[in-house]
Symmetry: C2
Subunit: 245 residues, 2 copies
DNA sequence: TGTACATCAGTGAACGCGCGTTCACTGATGTAC
DNA sequence: TGTACATCAGTGAACGCGCGTTCACTGATGTAC
């Protein structure tokens, strides 16, 4: 039994409910595999039905449409990535903010390299014609960035983040308003300049991962990709405000 | 007559050759529009033929296959972006390295915002099942990064780039070998640590643009997107080695 | 405990659609003598 | 300058394929009395 099926079974009474949950989990798993080999745009309910050994109309018992399957896969992928990041961050001690930051970055990269198609679904070009339904993907989709924000805010409160030099801390008023809203919405203590840098660190982390996963570096230029990424993480840590150490 | 058709006509003698070049340019233009509205994975020769007002088999006179049309569109988009970047950089005086750097970044973002689908084709998830043929996309595909590298190397030679602090300049040997190969291949003067930072600046620039274009920020969080991007560019300039100014 | 009924999973056929690509063909445009 | 021939653009039909989704249906599994 797969982990997904085990999870899906939790708290379900009747055999029918359990069988149903297991079938939904199978559909998600097969969709995942299909995604990995053929890409999101080519994801097809009929192909999933074939792999499931069932006639194509039967999957409509479990999934209302192709778009809903995509939503399930999106949520599944976000949670898988979120779990990987949480596990890596949680393995570091609570006060080791810099260690947690590095663990987060490495976990994102590792997951992306291991799951390039699912990473592409989450962070690549949007799937044409698909719009995520309101309220289904927001929570799982923000897990990583909230974890990152949490680490930086905790580090700041603990006095371990150095604010950027004054001349680099100037933020235009319209942007300051956005950043204030972020701070208020998430209950943060970090000042504007560090939030702004944090956003850059966030986008840069995913930019570096995307370039590697999407093949922008070309096949030969960088052989020491782990080293390159770790160097990037090191520099980004400095950008985020961590003092050298 | 479109610009593309004008360019395609250059140096062509006979009316037939000119008509042919104009038709190929029309096909590329229609493919571009199709791309913008339906995405790369949905790009279809039949749809292009319909828009061209011609039976589907007729386009095979001009384009050997769907994959070749994709290649044409890839090259077309790379060159369009490259032209936009060259124009923006060229508008700054030769010695204004920092200005050139900012112009490059802003031009990339502006082009991407104006052409999200083509940007996605170049920098999003790879098109499933498509592999660029060797030798067709490399040159146009490297225009922007070569421009960036040129600006940074020129600035370094002019003494306007400060190398990072010694403790941030440590590069592991395997990565140093990659960076040495880059330096030798491109005839650069910049030291390892600045090349490494330059790679991060490059990926971060596209990471920031991709987050904005692919909708990762969410619809509401940042209203002052130009300000945010300019702030990022400012910080990235510092990372690249430009002194504050 | 047994029976009548409701619920549900899965079938198979069908609808209407779009796709890439091939092929034999018609007619118009260009070229060589 | 006129004619015979070659080249090329575009047609229309066809091949075989896959897709999402609907619908009436059969049988098996569960539930209420």
């Amino acid at each position: 039994m797969t982990d997904a099926a085990t999870n899906a079974d939790a708290g379900l009474r009747t055999p029918r409910e359990r069988a149903r949950a297991r079938t939904v989990a199978d559909i998600v798993r097969l969709g995942r595999e299909h995604l990995a080999t053929h890409g999101a745009a080519a994801l097809s309910l009929r192909a999933v039905a074939r792999d499931l050994g069932v006639v194509s109309s039967a999957v409509y018992r479990y999934v209302a449409s192709r778009d809903e399957l995509l939503t399930l896969l999106l949520v599944d992928a976000y949670n898988d990535l979120g779990d990987a990041v949480d596990a890596a961050v949680g393995a570091k001690s609570e006060g080791d903010f810099s260690g947690r930051f590095h663990a987060l970055g490495l976990a994102v990269r590792e997951w992306a390299v291991r799951e390039p198609a699912r990473y592409g679904l989450l962070f690549g070009s949007p799937v044409p014609g698909y719009r995520a339904p309101a309220g289904r993907t927001e929570a799982p989709g923000t897990r990583v960035v909230y974890s990152l924000v949490g680490i930086l805010d905790d580090a700041y409160r603990a006095g371990e983040l150095a604010p950027p030099p004054a001349d680099a801390a100037v933020v235009p008023p319209a942007l300051a308003a956005d950043l204030d809203a972020v701070r208020a919405g998430l209950g943060l203590a970090v000042p504007d300049s560090l939030i702004a840098n944090g956003v850059l660190v966030w986008t840069s982390l995913f930019g570096a991962v995307s370039f590697e996963v999407f093949g922008q570096y070309g096949p030969d230029t960088f052989k020491a990709r782990e080293d390159l990424f770790e160097h990037h993480l090191h520099v980004l840590a400095g950008l985020a405000g961590f003092r050298r150490g």
